[in-house]
Symmetry: C2
Subunit: 227 residues, 2 copies
């Protein structure tokens, strides 16, 4: 399949494949079949092959996929073969936790600046970073070549902060505020709504209680048998 037509759900699965491959690699697996990779994540083997085929021919007939090789290819595809600089806006409880979250750096994302508008926080240090006022955003974005931001401010300030991020030249935003941001088309927003995720749990538990069979799992959801 050519790169022109990528099913949007496949882009998510690509990330899941990459995580799972890294896990297999930690267990010293050198090769893996589409069947094994799929089973670990709750997908069919055909799904795995089709998804990967969107981007090239990574497999070896009779053998499967070489784990290290496929990891390298996927990282390149996702743009995580190089480290990205990321800034944070909003140093509340959640923001502070994200500042010290190890998982970001493990996947190639380095938090190198933190901003807040609360005068009580400005110039304080959390982790390795000193909190700066939001009007220093454009300067930081330009000097440190930052393309992505994490937005962890309260909902009522989120749109204004997003506007400042966009004005400063940010092109990707991970939005933790529970609302849809309005941004120009060249800016990409990824919304992470924690309470919404809980609500999804709640819905599926209610369904189970009513003994109505649950709908098939969307990509984000995994209830799989033990490998």
């Amino acid at each position: 399949m050519k790169a022109e037509s990528i099913p949007p759900p496949a882009v998510y699965r690509l990330s899941f494949y990459l995580r799972q491959l890294e896990i297999f690699q930690r267990f010293n697996r050198h090769t893996i079949s589409s069947k094994q990779l799929g089973e670990a994540l709750g997908y069919t083997d055909a799904q795995v092959r089709k998804d990967l085929a969107c981007f090239g021919q990574f497999g070896h007939p009779g053998i499967g996929y070489r784990v290290a090789e496929l990891i390298a290819q996927l990282k390149k595809l996702m743009g995580t073969d190089k480290i990205h600089n990321v800034l944070l806006v909003g140093v509340g409880n959640l923001g502070r936790a994200l500042l010290t979250y190890k998982g970001f750096l493990q996947q190639g994302f380095r938090l190198i600046a933190a901003f807040d508008n609360d005068p009580a926080k400005i110039n304080r240090r959390f982790g390795e970073l000193q909190i700066r006022p939001l009007d220093e955003l454009p300067q930081a974005v330009a000097e440190q070549h930052i393309q992505m931001a994490i937005l962890a401010v309260p909902a009522q300030f989120a749109q204004a902060a997003a506007d400042q991020l966009v004005a400063a030249g940010i092109r990707g935003i991970l939005n933790f505020a529970p609302l849809s941001l309005a941004v120009p088309p060249h800016v990409f927003v990824q919304r992470v709504d924690l309470a919404l995720q809980m609500e999804q749990l709640s819905f599926h538990l209610s369904l189970a209680n009513l003994k109505i069979p649950a709908p098939a799992s969307p990509p984000e959801i995994h209830t799989i048998p033990r490998p």
Copy 2:
């Protein structure tokens, strides 16, 4: 449409509708059309109507949907018309931030117990809660009628912790560890992988750089024009 066939993506959208309706309500909107609700979230009007029609007839021809009424209906559907007790396992940086996160309670989820296996943390207090050892899980689950858990332990302990949650009777898990949990079919896992979300941003930024048109947005993604 009957309740038998619910497209899985629709279940996500239901939560987005609910959030957006609550926002409209804060602005004192009393009624809303499928077109307006859809536009706020980047969906078509037909999509909104079809999704809602899976669960009943909530609209009023010529009028639209009454905001308060639809909120009540959706909350009932999602099971968030009542407060749910939730427990937390793993009181690291992320866990502590989640303990004090206001958004959960706003949507009807109350964190009422926190667990960790680090002896240095046990019996310490964070927020209103005292940290307890994991072997008290079954007791807490039974006594406080807890069905859902937030799992925020490091990846290498996540499966073991999940096993304990399942054994204790938990039926829904919000999993922050970057791996697929193996659980029995009656347990529902919602995976939240923060680095994976960043990776999705990275991918779409790479696409934009290559000047290949981006695939249409999956439900979680919103880049919409200003209302």
